[in-house]
């Protein structure tokens, strides 16, 4: 498993793809942070994280599209599958490599918050007395980053699974974008209103189901700095289920 992990990590950085991902992600998150906080004169990071999640619709597939699709196309999967490694080892090695890069990029993007703290400190120094908190709320930021990482793990697992289904990287990417977009945008349905301000989806059960399935709705507790154990389980389950399905895809192909 470790050899595959190492190989995947290497492959991100000897191909342009790792750099493209990192570059795009860091630039985008920096710009986003700039616009949602500094330009908007706000210490709240809520909208920053919200928009960041939309960026993942495009960014995560970049990480995951080639994981299995490329191996299958180049027939190198035969090497892995006939080597003394378990299927789980192969899938985990690949998943962890993508996740590591993702984790690194998210942690790097935390540099974006430094200006907020600097501004906050400066403002606090300028005021004598204040009843409200000035500057960013560390608990919210930590909670949100944590949730973003979990969410990313789930998305990467989905991308990994889709990559294992096809041998065409491009179609893997497109399908992954579609699936992740659907998961993210689903929540917006609940917010839709018609001209009179009435909710379009008025049926409570449907709203409940959408809310339950949506990845975004789970996010909100973390973004208030609350540790939501249910959401944690939810994200981990998605990750686990899709990794398990990936293993099953390969297992089934052997028997097919």
């Amino acid at each position: 498993m470790f050899s595959i992990y190492k190989k995947e990590m290497r492959s991100y950085f000897i191909n342009p793809i790792g750099y493209v991902y990192l570059g795009v992600f860091l630039v985008f998150s920096a710009l986003l942070c700039c616009y949602t906080t500094v330009v908007a004169a706000s210490y709240s990071t809520t909208s920053y994280f919200r928009y960041l999640i939309f960026a993942f619709i495009i960014l995560i597939p970049i990480l995951t599209m080639r994981l299995f699709a490329e191996e299958r196309k180049l027939r190198t999967e035969q090497l892995l599958l006939t080597a003394p490694v378990t299927l789980t080892g192969i899938v985990m090695g690949k998943f962890l490599a993508a996740f590591t890069l993702y984790l690194g990029s998210v942690l790097l993007s935390c540099l974006n918050f430094i200006p907020l703290y600097v501004f906050g400190a400066a403002e606090r120094a300028g005021t004598q007395y204040s009843t409200t908190q000035i500057g960013p709320v560390t608990g919210q930021i930590v909670g949100s980053v944590f949730a973003v990482i979990l969410l990313g793990a789930a998305f990467i697992a989905i991308g990994t699974f889709i990559s294992a289904l096809t041998e065409n990287q491009l179609s893997a990417a497109v399908i992954t974008i579609g699936v992740i977009a659907a998961m993210v945008l689903l929540n917006l349905l609940n917010g839709l209103t018609d001209a009179d301000g009435q909710q379009i989806i008025s049926s409570y059960p449907i709203r409940f189901v959408i809310n339950w399935v949506s990845v975004l709705s789970r996010f909100s507790n973390f973004s208030y700095g609350i540790f939501d154990f249910g959401a944690l389980l939810y994200y981990l389950s998605i990750t686990f289920v899709f990794l398990f399905l990936t293993v099953r895809v390969y297992d089934k192909r052997r028997w097919g």
Binding site: K7, I14, T76, T82, V85
Partner: protein, 392 residues
Amino acid sequence: MQSMIKIEHLIKNYGTNCAVDDISFEVESGEIVGFLGPNGAGKSTTMNVLTGYLSSTSGKVSVGGIDILEDPLGAKRKIGYLPEQPPLYLDMTVKEYLEFNYELKGCTMDRARHLSEICEVVKIQDVYNRLIRNLSKGYRQRVGIAQALVGNPDVIIFDEPTVGLDPKQIIEIRNLIRTLGKNHTVILSTHILQEVQAVCDRIIIINKGKIVADEKTENISRIVENSRRFHVKVSGPQKEVLTLLRGMSGIAYADVLAERDGDAYTYLVESEQGVDVRKKLFFELASHGWPMVGLEPQGMNLEDIFITVVDQSSMGTVEREREKRVVRRGAGRGRTTLEASLANELVDEAAEKRASQSSIGFGSSGEDGGPSDEDIGLVPKGQGKESGKEED
């Protein structure tokens, strides 16, 4: 000797399509076995099952005494596999690639030494630090072979290792495989008959998912080399030469082929059964003052061999005795009658010999009711120049 690879009643279906149909054989330690068959015969499927890439529908496969289903990792550790298309990561250098394989297979020996030994064997030292993407096909193939050797596995499996190589490379790879055969058990699949003849101790012929022959190489070689058809190139007036050829005793069939080389024409000559007409032909032509400028025996091709061995395996000996003339003559199966009849005669002859020597116990595979007779079978007399294949 302990058998290194044991396959019992292996069946593999793809949906309703049966790719491998009840195959059983054993390979002993240190043997080089050639797996011969036309495209789509089930060679690759069998190898893929053997290496654990595919699962069998039913049947038992064990490598070095380890069942591939019970302990897949243990069995895989004993196998080095070069698939049909070498599984190379084009964005790695040869060094990185081999090191990756070394780690993947969880080897524990001294890495630098082990890898440099392998590179020496397959002769890729001079491209060691180059990107695989930039290597030629021959070198890529060798890197693929090197990959199979990493970890020094007991069994090495090559799936069509010489496809797409130039003749010089083919010879090098074959020599390499021979060398490997000294310390490893090697299974090699190909659809080129000469290849297995040159390399292997034993040949397993497979067709439509079934083993149709499992023979020592010499035996098969003899069938192949015992051709009675020649291309003779004679420099002389076409018509007269042809008349002479047709009139000669010992020649069953003669015709002129379209090829022309100066004033020399090429003739197809088929001798009568059991007669070596070559010397006679030479003197005869010489006495007329028509120099023979070329004589080329026409070996049987794979198809011909299939006709012989397939037919042989599909009928019991006794039945064959009875039915051979009736059934076989008609069964041209779309091939030229010449080829068909040639194949038939070879089988008939073998059957007669077999009948006369009746049963002598042999047991290479014994699976297909038959053609494992070491020496009696399949070999018309004469001319078999002992085929020069060494026995290890």
